[in-house]
């Protein structure tokens, strides 16, 4: 039971990272357009984020230093500043999309104006972060987010074509640029940098030490495993329900409908509550990640475990992130569009985020006996090459496909 409670950090990081508003719609769209064909991309993404989350958690546990601290030291001020700016822009876009997503889900539940729910969502999240301790936030949003398992139940209810599922787990090259746009989107969504900023800072918040390395691995395996299962379930449900009927999964309402079709009103409510927790969790992940990054880069006091008056600049930063995101959401931008652009643009920040983590994690002068083994280092380099490839191709593909528009 204790171990189960300790994996909340991994679950909220994974659910917030894998199943924010953009992922919910993106995975459903991928299933509706390509059936089971893109399941393999989820596996590639989850293995990559698992490798780097484990490394960043291990570095935090052993050295007590979160990712942005490491970035600043290894890359120096100028490159660190570039990474900071890129990651903060992506964080702000992500929080904007999530605030919009929270408002849309509340609208689907209670039908009142978007602006009212966006305001309530932003203020509600500020109150939640202010009042709840870090562990409480993890548990509330992580475990309520598990209601998204209703999509796993929906997929099983309709009887997946297991041979097609197996076929979808095998990578396949296609000539369609739209296909590759979705491949990159699915992998990049799994590798969003705010996940490791949040995860490694969370490890420091929870005062992990070398004795917690087992908990770190458990968090990664179970947390990101859960995220991957839920992502694949969304794709499978869309392949079962929407691909044959030609439905266009363009909104969160269409995502929730996939749970209502098999389970009626109860399924719909469970799905909407799970989506609310996942999207709200992602807003918290990304806004805290923004505050962590800035505080760690500039050497401020930081941490939810500190009282607000003991870390005032950190506190002001995450509050400002949520308020700025609310203001941006009120400009009328489509939250789904915003998050999908942020996913694609985040790949530019990925190499600068993950390279320092890899360099520190394999450095025995820092990590001692807890430095990377051969497998972790090899996987780290393989994924770094992949990440650079994603960074090089993401923007041209975005333009070539008119952001997936063909």
């Amino acid at each position: 039971m204790k171990a189960l409670l300790q994996i909340a950090l991994g679950i909220i990081a994974a659910i917030g990272g894998f199943l924010d508003i953009g992922d919910l719609v993106f995975n459903i769209q991928a299933g509706a357009i390509f059936g089971y064909d893109l399941l393999w991309a989820v596996l590639v993404g989850v293995l990559g984020i698992g490798v780097y989350a484990e490394m960043s958690g291990r570095v935090a546990a052993v050295t007590k230093r979160p990712v942005f601290d490491v970035i600043r030291e290894r890359l120096g001020f100028t490159a660190g500043l570039v990474t900071l700016v890129a990651s903060q822009v992506v964080n702000l876009l992500t929080v904007t999309a999530e605030i919009g997503g929270v408002a849309i889900v509340l609208q689907l539940l209670f039908d009142a104006p978007f602006s009212l729910f966006a305001l309530l969502g932003a203020l509600g999240l500020i109150v939640v972060i202010w009042v709840l301790p870090f562990g409480g936030i993890e548990r509330v949003f992580g475990y309520v987010g598990l209601l998204l398992f209703v999509f796993v139940a929906a997929a099983l209810h309709h009887g997946p074509d297991w041979s097609a599922v197996g076929g979808g787990l095998v990578p396949e090259a296609k000539s369609s640029s739209l296909y590759w746009y979705f491949v990159i989107g699915v992998i990049a969504a799994a590798l969003m940098p705010y996940e490791v900023y949040f995860y490694s800072s969370g490890a420091v918040e929870e005062r992990w030490g070398p004795k917690d390395l087992r908990v770190n691995r458990l968090n990664v395996v179970v947390g990101y495993g859960v995220g991957a299962v839920l992502s694949m379930a969304l794709m499978i449900v869309a392949a079962q329900l929407y691909e044959p009927t030609g439905v266009d999964p363009s909104s969160l309402g269409t995502v929730a409908l996939a749970a209502q079709i098999p389970f009626g009103e109860i399924g719909l409510l469970v799905a909407l509550l799970g989506m609310l927790a996942a999207i709200g969790g992602a807003a918290i992940d990304a806004s805290l990640a923004g505050a962590y990054n800035l505080a760690q880069f500039l050497g401020w006091e930081w941490g939810k475990y500190r009282r607000a008056r003991d870390a005032p600049r950190f506190t002001i930063t995450w509050v400002c992130f949520l308020l700025a995101a609310f203001a941006l959401a009120m400009t009328g931008v489509d939250p789904v569009d915003v998050t999908e652009y942020s996913v694609v643009f985040s790949v530019v920040a990925l190499p600068l985020t993950y390279l320092p983590v890899l360099l520190i994690a394999r450095d025995r002068t820092f990590m001692g006996e807890h430095a990377n083994g051969r497998i972790a280092t090899t996987l780290g380099w393989i994924y770094l090459v992949l990440i650079v490839g994603l960074a090089v191709t993401a923007i041209p593909l975005l333009l070539a496909t008119n952001a997936g528009g063909g």
């Binding site: 769209q29 044959p244 266009d248 909104s251 719909l268 909407l272 528009g405």
Partner: protein
């Protein structure tokens, strides 16, 4: 008949045909509008001056989007007719879908079709209006089961007509 089989049959009703050509690209296009402000300004300018051309492919994608909206609306209406959903969800989602159909109608109406496509374009605009009307009826009375059944049938007819429009090209 088990609920699983019943649901499958209801979903597969009239949908055993191949998907419309260009549908995938069509709905991705509707979902992800270019965000660059200069593109929006250019598009708005073209629409305002009536200079936006409409090729056969673009028309088919537009009709594909309408068919997708009609099919999704039919599923939504079916849930309302069977009292298996929440009225606020039906109202809000029907409104979203109606707005999508209306947006598609405006886009098609504002564009100048290539030679020989005027008739199809006009029928597509009229079809979009009927889809939006049906969804608005669902939005207005999301808890009326008889009304929802009628909406389901209207949207099924609209989806079939969209398929016929593309097949006729």
């Amino acid at each position: 008949m088990s609920s699983v089989v019943r649901t499958r049959l209801m979903l597969s009703h009239h949908t055993a045909r191949p998907r419309l050509p260009g549908l995938a690209a069509g709905y991705a296009q509707r979902v992800r509008r270019p965000s660059s402000s200069w593109l929006l300004v250019l598009a708005a300018g073209l629409a305002a001056t009536g200079c936006g051309g409409l090729s056969r492919d673009e028309l088919e994608r537009g009709i594909g989007s309408l068919e997708a909206t009609a099919v999704e609306g039919r599923i939504l209406a079916l849930g309302a007719a069977q009292d298996r959903t929440k009225a606020t969800f039906t109202r809000v989602h029907a409104r979203d879908l109606a707005e999508q159909a209306q947006h598609e109608a405006e886009k098609l109406a504002d564009a100048s079709p290539d030679a020989g496509l005027d008739g199809t374009r006009d029928r597509a605009v009229a079809l979009a209006g009927r889809i939006a009307d049906a969804l608005s009826a669902l939005q207005t009375r999301p808890g009326a089961e008889d009304g929802a059944l009628e909406v389901r049938d209207r949207l099924q007819q609209a989806a079939d007509e969209a398929a016929r429009l593309v097949a006729a090209r």
